[in-house]
């Protein structure tokens, strides 16, 4: 379907006098509010007061040092997953595979940390590198399949998640500590220290320095995307692949590179649990954090700083669910998260359509 040349369309509509307010910028906020209202109805339906439950959630997740630490800990893998999904989105790729990339990243870090005989200042960076490489490998595969065969990345990344789970389950038969679903303990040379060492106020919470790594990565990613030529090329690829092609961007290379980098970031996200908290790999440790990266990127509007804010929000929600469990099933937060996703995409679609209609 070729659209007619502009000249055939008759007089062009006058541009709107006032720049219309970008309504779409509000969609994350609208989504969160609508989800809270819908969740409130659900809470009221089981005979509790939404205000008390939400109040308790906020107070526990943000009102005490331990709560803030727990929120930061829950937010850490979400920062990495969110950055991974956001980066891929910017390059026009939908990474549904952050879960598997993170899973393998954590597994690789645990194996290196437990079995590679390196001394203190070396083991940790090598373990981190292993996590990034495992994730990068798992991200490069759908990138290659897309670049080489035009295979859509969504199904491939979903399939790769399941393949990662099966591979680890198989490897675990010989690697896991007897009668458990975890690997042996990582040597202390690869441990990442807890945040409460620096900030005693967070006392006892499992928040650790991998969060700082995530924040640094977010800033680096911002620089890459908005201040370098490569980042510019990736964004052009995301906005208009044909234009990118004509502008001389090596699109296939860019697809593989950006996907591998997205995978590496997600892979590093596995180290918060493995090197900073439990000091071993445990089956199902990601617990959906990779999938939540999609929500984080969505609410963070695919911007590294937005991702940080959104990850904190979802981190607070994740911890808050545990503390409201006395009053309503903890799954209320899972319902809220899902509703936020659904409301956010709906609001985005409707707002952009209205904006277009108003402009026309």
């Amino acid at each position: 379907m070729s659209s007619p040349a502009p000249a055939e369309r008759g007089p062009q509509p006058e541009p709107p006098r006032r720049t219309a307010f970008p309504l779409d910028a509000l969609s994350p906020l609208v989504a969160v509010l609508l989800a809270l209202v819908a969740g409130g109805v659900l809470i009221a339906a089981v005979g509790q007061s939404p205000f008390e439950v939400y109040g308790l959630l906020v107070q526990q997740a943000l009102g005490t040092g331990y709560g803030v630490g727990q929120t930061l800990f829950k937010a850490t893998p979400l920062v990495f997953a969110g950055l991974s999904v956001a980066l891929a989105f910017r390059a026009g790729l939908f990474n549904v595979g952050a879960e598997g990339q993170m899973y393998l990243g954590g597994f690789a870090a645990a194996l290196v940390g437990a079995y590679v005989p390196l001394p203190w200042p070396l083991l940790l960076p090598v373990a981190l590198l292993a996590a990034a490489l495992a994730g990068a490998l798992w991200g490069a595969v759908p990138g290659l399949l897309k670049a080489r065969f035009g295979a859509h990345e969504v199904i491939n990344t979903i399939m790769l998640n399941f393949i990662a789970f099966s591979l680890v389950a198989w490897a675990g038969q010989s690697l896991f500590v007897r009668a458990t679903v975890r690997t042996s303990e990582v040597r202390s040379a690869a441990w990442v220290s807890r945040l409460d060492v620096v900030l005693p106020w967070l006392k006892g919470s499992p928040a650790n320095l991998t969060l700082l790594l995530g924040v640094v990565l977010a800033l680096a990613l911002w620089l890459l995307l908005f201040r370098t030529r490569k980042g510019y090329e990736w964004r052009v690829l995301g906005l208009n692949p044909t234009a990118a092609e004509y502008a001389g961007v090596r699109t296939r290379v860019a697809v593989v590179q950006s996907f591998a980098l997205a995978g590496a970031i997600a892979g590093l996200g596995g180290t918060s649990f493995v090197l900073g908290y439990k000091h071993w790999f445990e089956q199902d440790f990601t617990a959906g954090a990779g999938f939540m990266g999609i929500a984080v990127a969505l609410i963070g509007r695919n911007h590294p700083v937005g991702v940080l804010v959104a990850a904190l929000f979802f981190g607070a929600l994740a911890y808050g669910g545990l503390v409201v469990n006395r009053f309503v099933p903890a799954d209320i937060v899972n319902v809220l998260r899902a509703l936020i996703i659904l409301f956010a995409i709906s609001a985005h679609a409707l707002f952009t359509r209205w904006a277009k209609q108003r402009a026309a």
Partner: protein, 303 residues
């Protein structure tokens, strides 16, 4: 030997039923141009609806109806978000799966005061299938209502998609929505019908799981919706092809269970359906070409 083979066939068929129902359902949605990653969530909601129906209405047939209605309702939500609002289809599917995972457990805890499983409920009663029932291993399966129904739904779905005006319109809308619109069809109407049919079929899959197990357990679909999507792709978005791929995946899974503890790395067999799907998508096993307009919202202004 024959006994072992029959047992294997029965195990395969048992595993295949929910896959085939959901995969055929998926083909109705995707043939119309709407990506449906929500199979997992639809199935989960339906399984819970079956158990709630059986528990409160004391009738397995009404429970089956509840399951189908829950499937259609979940699919309706997907249709509202993706067809009416024209929001992203992939994200909607993933969001609905997360919603189902959270909501079913929320209801499980609220209604049955357990975060793991419901009490035991009645399964669907056996049919009188005459001499078929005396077949070793397979006989009891043929008496299970959803097995003959699934077997009948395979040719029926092929017929609907490939031999009826509705099927032609559905497939045309998935390939060239603008052409459908030019013929005076409502693209949205056709697409919504495809998604709702998907919900009904996938609802049957959920009912099968709950009825066979006589209960609901948290996360009981355990990735079956995604296997169904994989099978639909390997089956090239054709109902019979999808069902055949489900049979292949079902046999793999049955083999994996049979080989457990035999020294054979059966855990790796688990990954086979996913690997096969990736190969099919890349064009190594015939080319799995999706409907042309799949995943693209239809905007009449732009057509």
């Amino acid at each position: 030997m024959l006994d072992a083979l029959l047992l294997f066939a029965a195990a395969t068929l048992r595993i295949t039923v929910p896959y085939a129902l959901a995969a055929m359902g998926g083909s109705f949605s995707e043939r119309g141009g709407v990506v449906c990653l929500a199979l997992e969530g639809i199935m989960l909601n339906s399984a819970l609806a079956y158990v709630l129906g059986a528990w409160f209405l004391h009738d397995p047939w009404l429970a089956l109806l509840c399951a189908v209605l829950a499937g259609v309702a979940t699919a309706a939500l997907h249709a509202l978000i993706t067809v009416t609002f024209r929001a992203d289809q992939i994200t909607s599917g993933i969001g609905l799966n997360l919603l189902a995972a959270g909501l079913t457990r929320f209801v499980l805890v609220t209604v049955f005061h357990s975060s793991s499983n419901s009490p035991r409920v009645a399964g669907l009663p056996d049919l009188a299938v005459g001499p078929l029932a005396s077949l070793p291993a397979l006989g009891p399966l043929f008496a299970t209502p959803l097995v003959p129904l699934t077997l009948a739904l395979v040719p029926l779905s092929v017929w609907v998609q490939h031999r009826t005006p509705f099927g032609l319109r559905l497939r045309a809308t998935g390939e060239q929505p603008a052409a459908s619109a030019a013929l005076g069809l409502s693209v949205a109407g056709v697409r919504v019908s495809g998604v709702l049919l998907c919900g009904a079929l996938t609802g049957l899959a959920g009912a099968w799981l709950a009825s066979e197990q006589h209960s609901f357990t948290d996360g009981m679909t355990s990735g079956r919706g995604y296997i169904a999507i994989a099978a639909m792709i390997v089956g090239k978005w054709h109902p019979a092809g999808s069902a055949a791929a489900c049979l292949l995946f079902g046999a793999t899974e049955a083999a994996q269970i049979a080989l457990q503890g035999s020294g054979f790395p059966s855990a790796l067999l688990q990954a086979l359906p996913y690997a096969v799907t990736m190969l099919a998508l890349a064009g190594f096993i015939g080319h799995a070409r999706p409907p042309k307009a799949l995943g693209r919202p239809y905007d009449p202004e732009e057509a």
